[in-house]
């Protein structure tokens, strides 16, 4: 029972993070129909920028107690930084390719990803040394249920993701710009004929997706404080799993991304706890293969008929 609950808490909390990253993949895909491979690097930068901001403000001292205010400040800083970076990347790397074949954009995305990873490793930037994210949240147990310690960080992760998710839902379904985003994702050309400035909508999409990935980076670093170097495979693997979450949920579908993230998190943690921890990545990618075989449009996606 204890093990079950503990696995559930971890699965939900990491699953929420996958979902948060998956949103960026799915939103960009929904509008531009390409996979932004640099998205996992934005997530990585979100974690690293959080670390750098916290250190610069002198909050890395382990003697100082953390506080929710500090955590929120660092979260906001990381989101802002990555939002601006997402805007710049779209502007410089993807916008010039708007009329180019999709494959060119895809290759460019891989290029951007490698560029971020490798410049990140430069000694005067992030370097190649792993770092430790300071605990901005008091590392306390919030409550104990059936001998399971529910840590504050897990609660913060889940609540933050719920709030961000709610804000995104509101934005997409209740505001003018959200309506424009949905219109652009359905038919870019017609949206432009209706007076929607398509390029601006695309920029906004990148800013939102990137800042959500940054939030995920901060939360991830809060839960797992060991920060690997920028080009380390763990970041790529985490990004890849979030991408799987987006595909499993139905790429292009916002709720699907969140649902896919939770599902992936659960399968990973339950598989690791009850089957074998060595195969936890295998469960995730097996699920991907299964979904692609049975329901290629994803669990919540609607099949699209290709127009010929």
């Amino acid at each position: 029972m204890t093990k079950l609950l503990q696995t559930l808490v971890d699965g939900v909390s990491v699953g929420c993070l996958y979902g948060l990253i998956a949103l960026g993949y799915t939103m960009v895909y929904g509008i531009l129909k390409f996979i932004n491979f640099a998205h996992s690097d934005i997530f990585m930068l979100g974690a690293w920028v959080s670390f750098i901001v916290a250190r610069a403000l002198g909050w890395a001292n382990p003697d100082q107690p953390g506080s929710l205010g500090k955590a929120l400040f660092v979260l906001a800083a990381a989101m802002l930084f990555c939002g601006v970076l997402g805007f710049i990347i779209e502007r410089l790397a993807y916008r010039p390719l708007r009329r180019a074949p999709r494959l060119n954009v895809l290759i460019t995305a891989i290029g951007v990803s490698l560029f971020i990873q490798n410049t990140g490793q430069l000694p005067w930037l992030l370097g190649t040394q792993p770092q430790r994210m300071p605990a901005l949240l008091p590392d306390s147990t919030l409550l104990t249920v059936a001998e399971v310690q529910i840590r504050q960080v897990d609660v913060v992760v889940i609540i933050t993701v719920l709030v961000l998710m709610g804000a995104l839902e509101w934005l997409v379904h209740r505001t003018k710009v959200g309506r424009a985003m949905r219109a652009v994702s359905f038919d870019t050309r017609v949206a432009s004929l209706m007076g929607v400035p398509v390029d601006r909508v695309i920029s906004i999409t990148f800013v939102i997706g990137s800042s959500l990935a940054a939030a995920a980076g901060f939360l991830y670093a809060s839960k797992y404080p060991g920060l690997n170097q920028p080009a380390h495979a763990t970041w790529i693997l985490l990004g890849l799993k979030a991408f799987v979450a987006a595909v499993v949920g139905g790429i292009g579908d916002i709720r699907g991304a969140m649902f896919g993230g939770l599902l992936i998190g659960m399968i990973e943690f339950f598989g690791a706890a009850y089957l074998s921890p060595h195969l936890k990545d295998v469960y995730v990618f097996s699920l991907l293969i299964l979904v692609l075989l049975v329901r290629p449009a994803g669990l919540m996606g609607k099949p699209v008929l290709e127009k010929v």
Partner: protein
């Protein structure tokens, strides 16, 4: 001065020379129709006016000012609304949201937008019953009505209509054309592209006949409708 004036327009669609030196003028408050067979370049003309395609030569002037090279949303802001071929309904949005998107470029106050929205719904009462419905669930005729209503919410001075009769039952076509005339009588200038030359020439003031990228004839709609070669080629007459 005509509201829309196109002169010497050349447009390429990839390697295809789709429009060859087109001259066309739309006077304020008129309905001008562009008729011709499949692939004649009718839709290409509209797409070039609304900025989706760029001409290689020639000019397009709205109110005497060139609009060539402007992005589509900027052209909408200057008063040109385009109800595209195939209707271009956002099937993932509700009918109401589709209408709201039509008003996207407007910067005036909410009350003015609501007035125009209301006027559009008066023209198409069937849409009012379906406001909360996903637009993808509408019938073909209703989707065409929505496409026109949505374009009207932008409060255009020039309305571009691309094949509004396509795939609709004759009775629905009649209704749509009746409303097109009503919209024009309320003051909106219309450039109408149609394969149904009979209906188009019936509502239009002027007509242009397009054949493989060239304008081969232009005249008052009434004269065109009674001219022998037009009757033979497009009206199924003898």
């Amino acid at each position: 001065m005509p509201l829309l004036e196109i002169s010497g327009l050349d447009v390429y669609y990839g390697a295809i020379h789709a429009l060859r030196s087109i001259d066309l003028a739309v006077e304020e408050r008129q309905i001008v129709t562009l008729i011709g067979g499949n692939g004649a370049g009718k839709s290409t003309t509209l797409r070039t006016v609304s900025g989706l395609l760029r001409p290689t030569r020639g000019s397009i002037k709205l109110d005497g000012k060139s609009i060539v090279g402007l992005p589509p949303h900027e052209i909408v802001r200057r008063g040109v609304a385009h109800a595209p071929e195939g209707r271009g309904i956002f099937a993932n949005l509700t009918v109401d949201e589709n209408l709201e998107i039509g008003a996207y470029s407007r910067r005036d106050d909410r009350a003015a937008i609501d007035r125009d929205r209301e006027r559009s719904l008066e023209l198409f009462p069937r849409l009012r019953e379906r406001l909360r419905q996903n637009a993808g669930t509408l019938s073909g005729g209703e989707q065409q009505m929505l496409a026109i209503a949505r374009a009207l919410v932008a409060r255009p001075r020039l309305l571009l209509l691309d094949e509004p009769s396509l795939g609709l039952a004759p009775q629905v076509v009649k209704t749509i054309f009746h409303i097109i005339r009503e919209i024009n009588q309320a003051g909106t200038t219309i450039l109408l592209v149609e394969q149904n030359a009979h209906m188009a020439l019936h509502v239009a003031h002027r007509g242009y006949v397009l054949e493989v990228g060239r304008i081969v004839k232009s005249d008052d709609a009434r004269n065109l409708a009674s001219s022998d070669d037009v009757r033979k080629a497009y009206l199924g007459g003898v």
